[in-house]
Amino acid sequence: MPVAASAIYFLNLRGDVLINRLYRDDVGGNMVDAFRMHIMQTKELGTCPVRQIGGCSFLYMRISNVYIVIVVSSNANVACAFKFVVEAVALFKSYFGGAFDEDAIRNNFVLIYELLDEIMDFGYPQNLSPEILKLYITQEGVRSPFSSKASDKPVPNATLQVTGAVGWRREGLMYKKNEVFLDIVESVNLLMSSKGSVLRCDVTGKILMKCFLSGMPDLKLGLNDKIGLEKEAQLKSRPTKSGKTIELDDVTFHQCVNLTRFNSEKTVSFVPPDGEFELMKYRITEGVNLPFRVLPTIKELGRTRMEINVKVKSVFGAKMFALGVVVKVPVPKQTAKTSFQTTSGKAKYNASIDSLVWKIRKFPGQTEATMSAEVELISTMGEKKSWNRPPIQMEFQVPMFTASGLRVRFLKVWEKSGYNTVEWVRYITRAGSYEIRC
């Protein structure tokens, strides 16, 4: 396995080192100065996540207000390094209880050092699973073996955990009520031209799972994806069901999924870890159902007046509804006065993002809403800069709707004891970057 990091630095936005850890001595201690000089203080910041300066590679990413910089001097596996950073951040978040930012780091120096020691060794990533690390890196006090009261919980065996066949799940879990929650979360990215033709459209989705199951259950998930259905039909030698099938691209699974079985039978079967995890990720580029259509008309009347008319149509099922719909219509910087008329929701002008913001709390399916606005501009000294009309942006959430059309056909749970389980399935579609040119 190639090296992922020679050193890791956590910097704040000013470039001060919050915390750092050197894993190998092939990079100097002042490397971070080079990063500050060549990346942070130039315009290059954020243009390319990998930079080479003087024989060292700098891999960096920004998470909230912290830069995480990995320095390597050898030929490293960059993807591995970035995955390591992402996983480490997830780990820290689970330890800090949600937030990962400068303050969180400042408040948890000792813990972070402890974790950094554990999750990487001589530049090679080690176990980053929060469940297992929490067994032996604890935030509570440790009970002295000489204390009179015996601990009620058995001391968990971390070694067995890490080296066992199912490293991600502990033995001997017990729940009164066996429940599985399945969330399919999709985000739609769209770029539409002013004439209404789709220029770019795709859906990225993930299946999140939360398990409260006893023992060592074996789960099997069936989706209405094309390959799975075809394989099933072939195995059971019956014709493929008519109805919609989905073609999934770029599927990635959690490590618990049995890949050999997926390759042979095209079914997703797995022993789930306890608690919450991301089962799979996928992408879909064809056959996307767009939840909203937007029809803007913008007229410039002379130098100081504009008329804006936006019509939004919901094209999902009439029984469903969208929540938190926000339409942002950009206006020129010299906007001075605005007046609105809307059929539903409220609109106002937000000067700090130079847009008209129209909010509709609840938007039922198969309906339409319009907003018409009059904008007055202030006259300026400089010659009028032509306004380049940035695209209209939209935000929304549609529960129980998938833009891809993906459905869960079944979720089966087998366990030796044969208990009954309750399965919950939810669908939600969100706007990714949903843009309409005007």
Partner: protein, 972 residues
């Protein structure tokens, strides 16, 4: 105004730029809405929003609306509103804006002309209140900047002097601003104000009659002090002894009285005054004592913890370096400066590096360069390239001995290979090639480096080259047999780039040639590699492989073809080179990007096809004489008997004598020895494979005097005889002959060096006067006794040597100035008879001083229209000399031109209609003749001699076969 203060406190509470921007955009939106409101704004609101606009504008955001509102405030009835209107208008609108026309008839030349007399009247009138006169002075300054004609110089010099007598410090400060501006344009006219300025400074420095409100932290009006000293710097010198004495007293007081204190504001003010005073001291070229006081003060500054003060200290020390004579004092702070190199602040490190670079000289070069090398390990990337370049320049400039230089550069390549440009290793190769005693040492070093596991590619290049050339010198050492050398170099072959592969192939060929008796196994291995590269995709490598493969079958002929590389032509003017390097370093810093083409302008192997500028620094090796040229070109044709010619005819020393033989026609003027000695690099290249070039010079150079025969002129005898009897036990470690020739075209360098002493030389020339400084450096740990130096001047030179100390202390350097005046033209050369005793041995060296004719030349550029009238107007025939030199080696035109330039001859295009001829003119200075016009012509003579090898390239001339010198001199 609550809204405004709330807004400002909001902005100040923003944690980052992003938040600030959001808040500003929100506020701008608000202001726009308010301005657009139909109901209009109350005057109070209008004032508030305009203030906010100004605040936003000052934060650096673009505000391009609201001008109407601002301008309307100007016409408001109340004072506070009017004031806002004026302030904001003057900030937001620049003077060329059309919108200003609405405000009033502002700006313009006519306006300033019509207004100026009134303003002047106000300024001078004694009945006005001081505040009005203050404003009048500033107003006049603005008008003057707009239109300098408003101040009539004749009348104003007196008025200015009167105004400077002002007692009110406020008015005086404003007047001084005006004065600085006036003086910067025309210092001559205001001579009479100079004593007044000194008096003002005196008054301030003595703290006499200074009202309380004009003292700032106990310093009497620092602003006025700074301005006055600035004004004084515009005067070239101060001649009046009284004023000068008074001024120095004041400066002394400032220098003594300034110290670092706790209070930041006080520090800022007192340092502003101090640094201005330092600038003035430097400008006035004060006595050494004062300078040393300044340096001592700065030395205190650079030891302070506060980074700003340290920075200023270092920077001003660097500026002090420009003034002569303070180097020694600055050197005392060397340790402190070196510590500054490790400062956490990069700007301080940079200043420290600049200062170290500037203060480096022969005495401390070793220490500084070693420090820089060590620092290279920890320096950040932004500085490494500059650092390595500077280290290389210093190492070359001040190397006490050449092996040290090689050591340093090899270390440099090893430590910072990425940042070492190719030119640096080219220089090493040149040095090693030109210094025989260095060759085996360098090869051994290169061999050591090859043992390292990880090696930079540049290191591979230089090692491979050196081992190919001189590897055979190591043959007896363990691990250095040809086979082992080949093995270790061949290890690197798979990992290197194509340009290095080409060098490696040449190295293999050389190893093959040096393996005597031939080793069949090795030969087989090498031939396999050549074979393999015969079909390589890179044409250069392919060609090399094919050629070497074929050559290696030629057997014994191989040795002739692949003989050792001849010496490189020396370059002149290190200073020029350093300048370019420095410039490129500065450029590099400003661009902050990696560039490998640093010193390209000095590329040694550039030949005729390269741009002319590249050649400015090239000076040719002394390998042929004028008269020899014919013989040699003859021997070229009949190559088999080269060694006959070499020992007795080819010595560069003969230049003088032979040249005189030819040109005995008239002794008034002589053909420059360096000119006649010239050989074009193209020729050298052409001769690479010829055995003559390899076998000839060394014998002649080791004992330069031996090859002389009887046909010398008496003067030549003097110069040469002195060199003959160097039967000392101590032999010079440098080639004295070569050094002399280098110095003929350069103004500084080493004249002589042996194990005990190094004699350096630095010269300045002005018309027919010259000032030389001899640097006698004792290299030993024990003193050199009974040091004597005697000048044997020829009749045409007047020379005065200052007294030489009897002993030179250990590791010390003594400077001996030498004044020279040229009485008339002659070819003779002055000789320095130098002797010392070391232990019991008496060492006596007779050295020719490079006070040659071309030092008294000054190039002038003349167009034909200017030249011919002058030339024809001169009719005094007694001073007219013309001589023709034939049989000079052919040379491409641009090179010829560069050669002329290096001899202080300015090429004048257009004087000759034939583009193949080259004409240069110059002025010759001597006491007898004053300035004389001289002309040198290079005439193309058809198909005589060999063509330059690269005659195919368009920029080289087809053939300048013969060069004729027609030097004609007249009294002007």
């Amino acid at each position: 105004m609550r809204g405004l203060s709330v807004f400002i406190s909001d902005i100040r509470n923003c944690h980052n730029k992003e938040q600030e921007r959001l808040r500003v955009d929100k506020e701008l939106g608000n202001i726009r809405t308010r301005f657009k409101n139909e109901k209009g704004l109350s005057p109070y609101e209008k004032k508030k929003y305009v203030w906010k606009m100004l605040y936003i504008y000052m934060l650096g955001y673009d505000v391009d609306f609201g001008h109407m509102e601002t301008v309307s405030l100007i016409s408001a009835p109340k004072y506070p509103e009017k004031q806002v209107g004026y302030i904001v208008t003057s900030c937001l609108l620049n003077e060329n804006n059309d919108f200003l026309r609405m405000v009033g008839n502002i700006g313009g030349k006519e306006f300033s002309e019509s207004l100026a007399p009134d303003v002047q009247k106000l300024l001078i009138s004694s009945s006005c209140r001081p505040v009005v006169r203050k404003k009048a002075a500033l107003c006049l300054l603005r008008l003057y900047r707009k239109n300098p004609d408003v101040v009539n110089i004749d009348g104003w010099a007196d008025r200015m002097a009167q105004l400077l007598d002002e007692r009110d410090l406020g008015v005086l400060t404003s007047v001084m601003s005006l004065f600085v501006s006036l003086v910067s344009n025309n210092a001559e006219a205001y001579w009479n104000c100079l004593p007044k300025c000194v008096r003002i400074l005196e008054r301030l420095a003595r703290n006499q009659d200074i009202p309380q409100e004009y003292t700032y932290y106990g310093i009497p009006s620092p602003w006025l002090q700074v301005k006055t000293m600035r004004a004084l710097q515009y005067f070239p010198t101060i001649e009046d002894p009284n004023a000068r004495r008074a001024l120095f007293e004041v400066l002394q007081r400032i220098l003594m009285g300034t110290d670092v204190v706790k209070n930041v504001n006080k520090n800022n003010a007192s340092h502003a005054v101090l640094f201005e005073a330092l600038a003035l001291v430097m400008h006035l070229d004060a006595e050494k004592e004062m300078m040393s006081q300044c340096v001592a003060l700065l030395g205190k500054f650079i030891a302070v913890r506060e980074p700003n003060i340290r920075y200023l200290g270092l920077e001003n020390m660097t500026r002090m370096l420009l003034v002569t004579d303070v180097q020694d004092i600055i050197k005392r702070h060397q340790a402190q400066i070196i510590t500054s190199l490790k400062d956490p602040d990069i700007s301080i490190r940079r200043r420290a590096l600049d200062l170290l670079y500037g203060m480096c000289d022969i005495t401390n070069a070793k220490e500084i360069v070693e420090e820089l090398l060590q620092y290279l390990n920890t320096a950040e990337f932004a500085m490494r390239e500059e650092l390595s370049l500077k280290a290389a320049i210093l190492a070359e400039k001040f190397a006490p001995d050449l092996s040290w230089y090689v050591d340093v550069i090899l270390q440099l390549i090893d430590k910072a290979g990425d940042f070492v440009s190719d030119d640096i290793w080219y220089r090493v190769v040149q040095f090693v090639t030109n210094n025989e005693d260095l060759q085996s040492y360098a090869a051994a070093k290169a061999r050591e480096y090859l043992d390292k596991p990880a090696l930079h590619e540049t290191m591979v290049k230089v090692s491979a080259y050196l081992l190919g050339e001189y590897g055979h010198l190591l043959a007896r050492r363990p691990g250095c047999s040809p086979k082992e050398l080949f093995a270790i170099i061949n290890d690197k072959l798979p990992t290197v780039s194509t340009s290095t592969v080409a060098i490696l192939l040449s190295t293999y060929a050389k190893i093959l040639m040096h393996t005597q008796p031939p080793d069949v196994g090795l030969q087989q291995q090498i031939l396999t590699i050549f074979k393999k590269y015969e079909s390589y995709i890179d044409v250069e490598i392919q060609q090399r492989a094919v050629e070497y493969f074929e050559l290696s079958r030629k057997g014994s002929a191989l040795a002739d073809v692949l003989a050792e590389m001849p010496k490189f032509p020396e370059r002149e003017a290190e200073d020029a080179e350093v300048d370019t390097a420095e410039q490129s370093a500065i450029k590099l810093r400003s661009q902050q990007q990696t560039s490998s083409a640093l010193v390209v302008a000095d590329h040694p192997s550039a030949n005729g096809s390269a741009p002319a500028a590249n050649h400015l620094t090239l000076v040719k090796m002394p390998s042929q004489t004028v008269s020899d040229a014919q013989e040699i070109s003859a021997t070229y044709e009949e190559a088999p008997k080269p060694s006959v010619e070499a020992p007795n005819g080819n010595g560069p020393i003969e230049v003088e004598s032979k040249a005189t033989n030819i040109t005995e026609i008239n002794n008034e003027i002589k053909v420059e020895p360096p000119t006649s000695r010239s050989t074009s690099p193209a020729d050298l290249l052409a001769d690479l494979l010829g055995p003559l070039a390899i076998e000839g010079p060394p014998a002649a150079e080791l004992h330069p005097a031996q090859g002389l025969d009887a046909n010398q002129s008496p003067v030549g005898d003097l110069a040469l005889a002195t060199l003959e009897d160097q039967s000392n036990s101590v032999q010079p470690t440098v080639n004295v002959e070569e050094k002399f020739h280098i110095l003929c075209t350069k103004d500084s360098g080493v004249l002589y060096e042996d194990p005990h002493i190094q004699i350096g030389l630095k010269a300045e020339w002005r018309a027919h006067h010259g000032r030389l400084v001899l640097f006698l450096g004792n290299k030993n740990t024990s003193p050199l006794m009974s040091v004597r130096a005697l000048i044997l001047p020829p009749s045409h030179l007047k020379m005065e040597l200052s007294s030489v100390p009897d002993t030179i202390p250990p590791r010390a350097q003594v400077q001996v100035p030498l004044e020279v005046a040229n009485l008339r033209a002659s070819r003779d050369v002055a000789v320095l008879d130098f002797s010392y005793t070391f232990g019991t041995a008496l060492v006596d060296a007779k050295l020719r001083l490079p006070v040659v004719l071309n030092k008294f030349l000054q190039p002038i550029t003349l167009t034909p229209e200017e030249f011919f009238p002058q030339w024809k107007a001169l009719t005094v025939h007694s001073l007219k000399v013309q001589e023709v030199v034939k049989g000079v080696k052919p040379m491409p035109l641009p090179e010829m031109a560069n050669l002329f330039m290096s001899l202080h001859l300015a090429v004048a295009p257009g004087l000759d209609n034939n583009p193949n001829n080259l004409v240069a003119c110059t002025t010759f200075f001597s006491e007898a003749t004053r300035a004389m016009l001289c002309l040198v012509e290079g005439i193309h003579q058809g198909t005589f001699g060999r063509h330059p090898k690269d005659s195919g390239s368009p920029s080289s001339c087809p053939s300048t076969a013969t060069i004729a010198f027609c030097s004609t001199c007249h009294i002007q």
